[in-house]
């Protein structure tokens, strides 16, 4: 599903954010990318979305070399990748329903599909009762659910989550992880960057550890750190 071949990303006048990263993630996998702040987790996610270009190396998403993708095909790539962030990135002046439907409207989905899928997905994330609430009326966990619903409503092949539990308390984080696990079991490849060791240890999924831009560990059914 995702293949990186000797990917290096160097920002201007700075040390390498990613160095010679080679890895492969298969369809349907659930992968944690762990490592301290500045280890290159966010850069990895930005490269997947083609928000940035690698300095060298190739990235394949769903069999396509995204370095060779022309600019006008980038939207198509992003439609195949749902993205969830630590800060939710919800639109404050739109309701839960509108925040999710927005993602479908702006890629030109017809109204009947929007009206069918949005309540469906909100039901899936457990917000079927809060369609008409505004984001500031929701708890952090609920807001993150809306953002997951928005990322998943177009049924992407891949879900990228950048510190999705970073702003949430442990109990709420567990709920969010259950949701991501459910999405993964439907067949979606989930890649989650985090430094929440409790969650990583509890899930026992594949762990890729980055340190100073290098892959220092790639372990199936792993835990957050050595010796824990």
């Amino acid at each position: 599903m995702i293949k990186c071949e000797q990917v290096t990303k160097v920002y201007k006048d700075s040390v390498a954010a990613l160095q010679d990263v080679t890895l492969e993630i298969n369809k349907g996998e659930f992968v944690f990318i762990v490592g301290p702040s500045g280890s290159g987790k966010s850069t990895f996610i930005r490269l997947m979305l083609k928000e940035e270009e690698p300095t060298s190396g190739d990235i394949y998403v769903a069999g396509k070399n995204i370095g060779r993708l022309s600019r006008w095909k980038v939207p198509e790539l992003r439609r195949n990748i749902g993205t969830v962030f630590q800060d939710f990135k919800l639109l404050p002046n739109r309701t839960v329903f509108q925040n999710v439907s927005f993602a479908l409207e702006v890629i030109g989905k017809p109204k009947h599909i929007v009206d069918q899928r949005v309540p469906e997905i909100l039901e899936l994330v457990g917000l079927g009762e809060k369609l008409n609430n505004y984001p500031d009326e929701l708890s952090g966990g609920e807001q993150q659910r809306v953002s997951i619903a928005r990322a998943f409503v177009n049924r992407p092949l891949i879900l990228l989550a950048d510190e999705p539990t970073g702003n949430l308390d442990p109990a709420t984080s567990v709920e969010i992880m259950k949701l991501l696990d459910r999405i993964n079991r439907i067949g979606t490849t989930v890649i989650m960057a985090t430094h929440d060791n409790a969650i990583v240890d509890a899930m026992r999924r594949r762990v890729i550890e980055l340190d100073s831009g290098k892959v220092v560990r790639d372990q199936s059914r792993g835990v957050y750190g050595y010796g824990t």
């Binding site: 979305l49 600019r71 006008w72 980038v74 939207p75 198509e76 790539l77 992003r78 439609r79 195949n80 993205t83 990135k89 639109l91 927005f102 993602a103 409207e105 702006v106 890629i107 030109g108 017809p110 109204k111 929007v114 928005r150 990322a151 177009n154």
Partner: protein, 292 residues
């Protein structure tokens, strides 16, 4: 598709509402520049009409002194008719001159009543084969006994020509300046709209909205501003044409006046300029602020 149209419409309306004052400034500069441009075009058409009409009639007038003898008069007539440059010569008596004067200024009875039939000189009206040959006639006739003066009507037309040229040039320069400022102002409203919606735009990109889809509402916003300015300018020109040109028509009845169809002929130009300016401005704003 209906959903998209609905979306674009809502986005445009809310964009215009959000930047009301700046949008107003953009619309007014657009209005002023197109008004000037259209005005220059109409003035140009008006002058062309006058010139066309007058070129047909342009003559050399040989004004005779009041006390000219019949012999002198015959001699001048013969001399004029003998010249190869002359197409034909027509005598206009004092009475005929007075009659023509009264017709020309029929709308101004005060002026007509103040002039006695005797006050206007008799003249030979000379039509030239080539109007530019005036100097030849002038050299041979001026100063002859019984000749008061020789007038080339073409000179009056030439003055009219140069006045109109300066007027039009001035209007075009002002138009160019105003168009540049309308580009800047429309670009500014579009830029502000982009800024106000930067969060939405970020999410649109993330979920894979195409550039086209993201940009169309801003393009429409620029276009609406340009077109509103154009429609205002066209309406103002229509009013101006009625008031100003009709008043000319009343005072100088013989002058041809630009018609409504002349205004219609200018409309495509104004709309075209409005669309081009709006597209250029929106494009400019988005090129700088909407990179993927």
């Amino acid at each position: 598709m209906a959903r998209r149209v609905d979306y674009y419409f809502r986005e445009t309306i809310s964009g215009l509402r959000r930047n009301g004052l700046v949008a107003l400034a953009a619309v007014s500069t657009m209005f002023i520049s197109l008004f000037l441009l259209g005005g220059a075009q109409l003035i140009g058409r008006q002058i062309a009409l006058v010139i066309d009409q007058q070129t047909e009639r342009v003559e050399v007038a040989v004004y005779l002194t009041d006390n000219i003898s019949q012999a002198d008069s015959d001699r001048i007539l013969n001399k004029l008719q003998g010249m190869p440059e002359v197409s034909y010569v027509r005598y206009e008596s004092k009475q005929q001159a007075y009659k023509r004067f009264r017709e020309l200024f029929a709308n101004q009875p005060d002026l007509v009543n103040n002039v006695s039939p005797d006050a206007l000189p008799a003249s030979f009206r000379v039509k030239l084969k080539d109007p530019s040959q005036f100097a030849v006639i002038d050299a041979q006739i001026r100063g002859q006994p019984g000749v008061e003066t020789v007038i080339d009507q073409r000179a009056v037309l030439n003055r009219l020509f140069s006045v109109s040229r300066i007027l039009k040039l001035g209007a075009y320069i002002a138009t160019a300046v105003m168009l540049v400022s309308s580009i800047a102002l429309i670009a500014n409203t579009v830029r502000m709209a982009v800024f106000a919606r930067r969060k939405e735009i970020g999410i649109m990109r993330l979920v894979g909205a195409t550039n086209m889809f993201i940009r169309i509402p801003f393009l429409i916003e620029g276009l609406v501003e340009g077109l509103v300015g154009a429609i205002l300018a066209i309406s103002a020109l229509a009013v101006l044409r009625r008031v100003f040109f009709n008043s000319i028509h009343e005072t100088i009845a013989f002058l041809p006046v630009v018609q409504t169809q002349d205004l219609f002929a200018v409309i495509p130009l104004l709309l075209g300029v409005a669309v081009l300016v709006a597209l250029a401005a929106s494009g400019l704003a988005m090129r700088r602020f909407l990179e993927v």
